[in-house]
Symmetry: C2
Subunit: 411 residues, 2 copies
């Protein structure tokens, strides 16, 4: 072998090691604890390779081995490998329409601490946000002051987000235009840890895919609504972020040329037919009644109140009609309804299915199933944690090389 | 090293070799001829690795080296490496609304022979199709009779296609329901070569991305129309095929609840507003006048005929409105208009851009550009060739291992 070929083989062995470490950590994170045999089966790596990689991850603090329950009757208990939640932690933040939340989440998805505070709907000054985020982060434990385990910060926000730098060109429900949110949060927390920002629905989709209603799916359409409507799309197991991270604004697809004016400046957007305000208006409630007014519609509908049932049915009809178009355009395997649409699911699902039967192309209709979100209000927050954990999942080796000294010192 | 680790390293060196061969062949196919230095720069491989890989490909008949023009003045001419079109050939077939076509295309995208015949619009019996395909294939040279270089057969069809087996559940413009097209074509040609079938617009998008208006783009929305409207989507450089291959049926997104009945059984689909028939009707032409009638509208519009201009403007308005919704949902970098929309581009582009300005979210609007298709009527046929060539691009090593004997025999 020529010298350059040897160097090249060496470089590639290292590339392979990193990618194998990543495969193991991803399995432990999403599906752990797992036995070594399960890891062999899931990754396709050899038994001895898996043993070596687990050893590295254990020394580096990212994995732990422990005895599982014996497999019935006598015999050795099986050894289970788990992600070590304390080995890599992230701070997740959510800026929602009517609440703010923060959580510390460890590798493996374990939530160590979570705080959510209500906030009045409407405009949110960035200075106030910075103040509130600092306070919430303090309540979950200021991990960046005391630990070198903080991998990063993930932020879910109800607005459009440029993924590259967390810039928010538009968040109508917060009254934001052109807010450098990533920068503002990094400044607020005074940390050098990386800040990753994404749209709330995109992150809700990620969380539902990894730990909620859509586990194991690869082609997912997640639609979540309150006043506004957002979508999160996964295609072939990958998030469809679009050229700049703005994809998923399905609420602003035109469905009705004679429809109402939309907050975006257009007319007849899907959001104007399926958003919270349309439901409240159709049910004769104040259109700014918020979640409480929605609850009162659901309570009345449960008592067979005709006006409420008709209003919900109309929401279901427009939901189904628009979803049929998206089923035709994107051929998803699964549709998950979150936020408002998860709460009204019980009442609107039959109408949605009927509309899909009528208006989606049969071949695409046959392969898609519909379900309510499983993670409830915390889906975007948990998705923000997943986003912030991504670097350690993609390349745990880089993280291991930062940690041995700490691990030795704290041992 | 333990024995299993050595085996594992051996397996991986082979994996790396295959993936490096693939990287070289993809570059030569899409961007060749290239100098060795360009291949080094484009692939990130070492100079010696590139030399070795080219050697393998040359022996196996997939690449050729030749002297390029000297780089100005005296000095050695540079050596250029090219894909060898004769080294791997495919048969491409297109089943369009008003024509059938076949071509032999070689590695590197070179079209050896191409035949296109008009056919009357309307229903096409599968038996007739089988007959016509056999005849067309004969005209381009029956390559499967005389050559072991035929890599496979790619088919573009104006209908929905299940990618796994080339089954067509629906092709309204051909009058097809549940046609096993892949099977029928394999039977017609009596060949064991693999047959890959995909939707016409999906393959038009692929061709435009690789050799047309969208070279270098990764996030593409391609919309092509005649009577029906199809879309081809690329996201992050990958085709968005959907869960079963049916994605891209954007013509059946609901845009007008009071709109016309659509051939799909729904009402107010985008296709009913932007398809050929809507244009013909608005211009006072017979709705089944076909391409000839469209040409007469364009000729009249060029003479400032008010009815024709208004009709084109209305098509542009609905095109722009729907595209704005797709820009919001998918955040593409580029929109390419093919088929009918390519032909009317000159007249409708200003209206489309105006609609995008009004109705697309500004952040998504800013990053998208609009262009007419560059490959004209042959885009889907060329895309079918690209589809059939994909196996040799993805794993040229498998193809090389089939060919040495042949190459020696014919040398």
């Amino acid at each position: 072998l020529a010298a350059s070929q040897i160097a090249s083989v060496g470089q590639r062995s290292e590339t392979i090691r990193r990618s194998n470490l990543s495969a193991i950590v991803r399995e432990l994170h999403a599906h752990g604890p797992l036995s070594r045999s399960e890891l062999v089966a899931r990754t396709g790596l050899t038994r001895s390779a898996v043993r070596g990689l687990i050893g590295e991850l254990s020394v580096g603090g990212l994995a732990t081995e422990r005895s599982g329950a014996p497999l019935g009757g006598p015999g050795r208990p099986s050894v289970l490998v788990a992600a070590n939640p304390a080995g890599a932690e992230v701070l997740a933040i959510e800026i929602a329409v009517d609440s703010l939340a923060a959580a510390i989440v460890g590798l493996g998805g374990q939530v160590a601490r979570l705080v959510r505070v209500e906030r009045p709907r409407g405009h949110l000054a960035v200075d106030d946000l910075v103040h509130d985020v600092r306070e919430l982060a303090g309540q979950v434990g200021n991990p960046w002051d005391q630990s070198d385990r903080l991998l990063g910060i993930g932020v879910a926000v109800v607005g459009m987000v440029r993924r590259s730098d967390g810039f928010v060109p538009l968040a109508p429900n917060l009254g934001w235009h052109d807010v450098p949110l990533g920068e503002a949060i990094a400044g607020a927390l005074g940390t050098a840890a990386p800040v990753a920002v994404a749209n709330e629905a995109d992150l809700g989709a990620l969380a539902e895919l990894r730990r909620g209603a859509a586990v194991g799916e690869r082609d997912l359409l997640y639609i979540s609504g309150e006043v506004g409507v957002g979508g999160g799309l996964f295609v072939g197991g990958r998030p469809l972020t679009g050229a700049a991270g703005f994809a998923g604004e399905v609420g602003h697809m035109p469905v009705n040329p004679d429809g109402a004016m939309c907050g975006c400046g257009s007319r007849g957007c899907w959001e104007t037919e399926i958003g919270e305000r349309a439901l409240l208006q159709r049910a004769g409630r104040p259109i700014d009644g918020g979640r409480e007014a929605v609850e009162s519609i659901l309570a009345a509908a449960a008592q067979q109140d005709a006006v409420s049932l008709t209003a919900l049915n109309e929401t279901g009809r427009w939901l189904g009609r628009g979803l049929a178009g998206l089923v035709n355009a994107l051929n998803p395997r699964m549709i998950v309804l979150g936020g408002l649409f998860g709460r009204v699911y019980f009442f609107v699902a039959p109408t949605i299915k009927e509309q899909l039967d009528r208006f989606a192309l049969p071949a695409a209709r046959e392969v898609v199933r519909l379900a309510p979100a499983a993670l409830g209000v915390n889906a975007p927050l948990l998705g923000a944690a997943e986003l912030a954990l991504e670097p350690v999942l993609a390349d745990p080796a880089a993280w291991l090389s930062r940690t041995p000294q700490r691990m030795l010192a704290s041992a």
